[in-house]
Amino acid sequence: MTRKLLALIAMFALVAAACGGSDSPAAVTGDPTTTADAADTADDAAMLDEEAVDAAAEEATQEGSVDPIELVLVTHDSFFIPDEVWAAFEAETGNTVTVVASGDAGEVVSRAVLTAGQPEGDVMFGIDSTFLQRGLDADVFEPHTSPLLSTVDDALRLDPTDRVTPISVSDVCVNYWLDAIPGDAPTTLDDLRTAENAAALVVQNPETSSPGFAFLLATIARYGDGWEDYWTDLVDGGVTVSSGWSEAYYTEYAAGGGEKSIVVSYATSPPADVLFADPPVDAAVSAVLDDSCFRQVEFAGILAGTEHPEAAAELIDFMLSPTYQAEIPLNMFVYPANSTVELPAEFVEYGSLVDDPITLEPAEIEANRLDWTARWAEIVFG
């Protein structure tokens, strides 16, 4: 009987835990102290970009009489911005942000396409240049030209009608392990064609891996019709193909103790490897093959069908503001689109975006995606 009672109590405790525990982490409001800190940060931001923040503050006062709007930002699982930053947005505009995350970049786009007109939220972040056209074709965004676009390199504005706003930038690059590279370090994409280097190279399946797809696009942009011969050379040389980035980097590549010394990864992998090294190191252990870098831009857009287009536009502006942009590098390991933002020391010292990356038009990518990957599979898997 006592045991039964104990079991019952335990079960109620569990239920109670479920109710209490699941409610508390949900709200993204921030406690009073962090809000105060955030307000300070917001002040700093105002000094950096007075106009934009003043404008936002003005709107906030105008809207001061109405209830605060709860904006929903739909994004992917890799996204992370600390609560203090959202508290700064709230201090500025009076509106709150709830971040709702799921899956990867491709999934976020599929979800938006599936719910076009009845969006899951007000703003979407995470559609990248390789999926951009699909989102544009499905009319999921409403245009908004942010005043802060003046701080962004024109090359990142891939939609001339501003249905999407560039927020962050990264390069997918071939990395090599400095101590393990066979022979001389490769300096060009072409160098990987040698049997020696191809045998040391790990790439990812473009259909199941975002960097894998970017690398395929890099070879197509560089070699045009000759990309098939390039891949034939890689296959003849004994290139290794894995399904995803993790298996490539931590099973095959030297970073995880694997035998391969060249891998498709990111421009930010060398600084990350230094920053999170264990034991600590004082110099980069791997390097980036600049010539191989393919530019990926991540965008935010107002989801068509939102009930709060003005507030959503404010959120987009905020995401381009220094307050937000400064948080991007160390939280998501990509570069801010706003060129006025200072980068963390590690990013400056151990890595950088390349000046002249390989790019491909989003429309061309979407039009040829299926043909290219089908042909790639024929060459690689036979």
């Binding site: 569990l14 239920v15 699941s22 949900a26 911005i81 939220g121 992998s269």
Partner: protein, 541 residues
């Protein structure tokens, strides 16, 4: 435990299970739950995507070489996975059921550990052994992940076999093999069938294992649903594959349910517990072998994690463990908070699954038409693709913003937990000797008294087994979780683990491993606590 029937004066008018109205009322909760959280989302996504589908396209997809290859591979690896898992799990189940020895409870608890380990880590461990490749490696991973289903579902059932039946056969000169073939196995079949059905459905919809261990060139229906829906943006093709998967899974569930009904056995009279202390040298050998088998299946993939979690700065230390409670070095929820979230979700999911699954089991055990329907419908959730369910929720729950509610995750976890509750509870309920009900009723027991004294006694231990599963399923669930929209801050431990593992940096890898070991420890402790009351096998009667 003696059947104590207290004197009851009020005359019973038949057990509640006899009344048709009662059956309908009982069925409302499980049928409603499955309709809202399984059927409706599937209908929603099918309606939306099938609209874009022409008849020509349907034929084109179904006759393509890619589809035929995927179907053959999926069915093939599923069948082999089921067989291999049952063969590995049965000896462990036998030892746990037949002997009482120190550490038995721990053995039964730790087999649940693989349930919560990240796919990537288990796959890497198998990969690094270097013995198996391709489909063989895929099957090995499925054995590791699913062996608990055999050990716990069949083991619990096995322990309830009356020892005297076995001993009588042995006395009559039957060899151990003959005893197993003619007495034990027929008695085990309901549980084996239930376990096989669940292993089959899990293997059918396996995703991460196929990608990592199958390598880039192998694919199944499930991985192709993802490929067409996400990378290629061909939702209509994904819908065809999802439809094929659903039909196959439903057919599978119908066969499994029929099989279970046919082999269900009533357990008559009082029984003498099967388990006995380890006495002979042969006993000891069996216990050692079963333990060794468990070690290979559970500890091997876990071992690399444990080592990795203590490997700090080229030496050994607790740094990664301490980091669980610290602010993460890279944008992510603190690991400790994720563990708390996971625990809360698991508690919520377990409670929902127990209520829904328990009621469903009672309805199923009645054996009427509603029961047969619920039996099939209850199995389907674990065979539905995460893409189908995730996108289905997205379209179905536009009202009240439920599609991004914090409750969506525990509900989705409960959907996957319900089949386990049913799988554990139905054979137990079917085993209730009808004469027992009649006896209690004849003594003047009220319908409620009859139920408490017969069915409830059979249900209780089964629900304990099921609680462990429901919690473990929720704690380890990644595929469906990642397809649901979750407010930032409510990341579960597997989601944070995935995040840490998919970024460069040794410290992040180390923290992911510490988090995985912590989650594994948690699930083992939960299983131990839930199991503790089971005593020596005989939980009922």
């Amino acid at each position: 435990m003696a059947a104590s029937v207290p004197p009851v004066t009020r005359a019973g008018r038949g057990a509640p299970s006899r009344s048709h109205l009662g059956g309908v009322l009982l069925a409302i909760v499980p049928v409603g739950f499955l309709a809202v959280f399984v059927a409706w989302p599937i209908v929603a996504i099918t309606r939306r995507t099938a609209g874009e589908l022409g008849g020509g396209r349907l034929v084109e997809v179904l006759t393509s070489g890619r589809f035929v290859d995927a179907l053959v591979a999926t069915v093939g690896q599923t069948l082999v996975s089921v067989l291999a898992t049952v063969m590995v799990g049965l000896p462990i189940a036998a030892v746990i059921a037949r002997f009482s020895f120190p550490g038995r409870d721990v053995l039964r608890a730790v087999v649940l550990v693989p349930f919560v380990l990240p796919t990537l880590v288990v796959a890497t461990a198998i990969d690094q052994l270097g013995v198996l490749e391709g489909w063989a490696a895929v099957v090995a991973a499925h054995v590791v992940f699913n062996v608990a289903i055999v050990v716990r579902l069949v083991g619990g059932w096995w322990a309830g076999i009356d020892r005297r039946r076995i001993e009588a056969a042995a006395t009559l000169g039957a060899s151990p093999v003959e005893v197993f073939r003619t007495i034990t196995f027929p008695l085990l079949r309901p549980a084996v069938a239930a376990a096989a059905a669940m292993i089959g459905l899990f293997s059918f919809t396996s995703f991460g294992v196929i990608l990592v261990l199958g390598g880039p060139a192998r694919f199944t229906i499930e991985t192709d649903i993802h490929r067409f829906a996400i990378f290629r943006g061909e939702l209509d093709v994904a819908a065809v594959l999802g439809g094929v998967q659903l039909v196959t899974v439903a057919a599978f569930a119908v066969v499994a349910a029929r099989l279970q009904r046919r082999v269900s056995v009533a357990r008559r009279g009082r029984r003498v517990p099967l388990a006995r202390p380890v006495a002979t040298a042969a006993d000891r050998v069996m216990v050692v072998l079963a333990t060794a088998l468990t070690v290979v299946v559970v500890v091997l993939p876990l071992g690399s994690l444990v080592v990795g979690s203590f490997r700090v700065g080229g030496g050994w230390g607790l740094g990664h463990w301490r980091s669980l409670a610290e602010a993460p070095p890279v944008g992510a929820t603190r690991s400790l908070d994720a563990l708390v979230t996971s625990l809360s979700f698991a508690a919520g999911a377990a409670v929902i699954a127990l209520v829904v699954g328990g009621l469903a089991a009672i309805v199923i055990a009645r054996g009427d038409r509603i029961g047969r329907l619920v039996e099939v419908a209850g199995l389907i959730p674990i065979g539905v693709s995460a893409v189908t369910l995730g996108f289905g929720y997205l379209l179905a729950f536009t009202a009240f913003d439920f599609r991004r509610s914090i409750w969506l995750v525990p509900v989705a976890h409960a959907v996957i937990g319900v089949p386990f509750v049913i799988g554990a509870a139905v054979p137990a309920l079917r085993s209730v000797d009808p004469r027992r009900r009649e006896a209690v009723a004849a003594l003047g027991g009220s319908p409620w008294r009859v139920w408490l004294d017969s069915d409830a006694r059979a249900l209780a231990p089964a629900l304990r087994t099921a609680t462990g599963f429901a919690a473990a399923v929720s704690l380890g669930e990644f595929g469906a979780t990642t397809f649901l929209s979750r407010p930032q801050g409510s990341e579960t431990a597997p989601v944070v683990m995935f995040k840490l593992l998919s970024r460069p940096g040794d410290l992040l890898q180390g923290q992911a491993m510490a988090l995985a070991v912590a989650l594994a420890g948690l699930v083992a402790v939960i299983a131990l606590v839930v199991d503790r009351r089971r005593g020596d096998g005989i939980g009922w009667l």
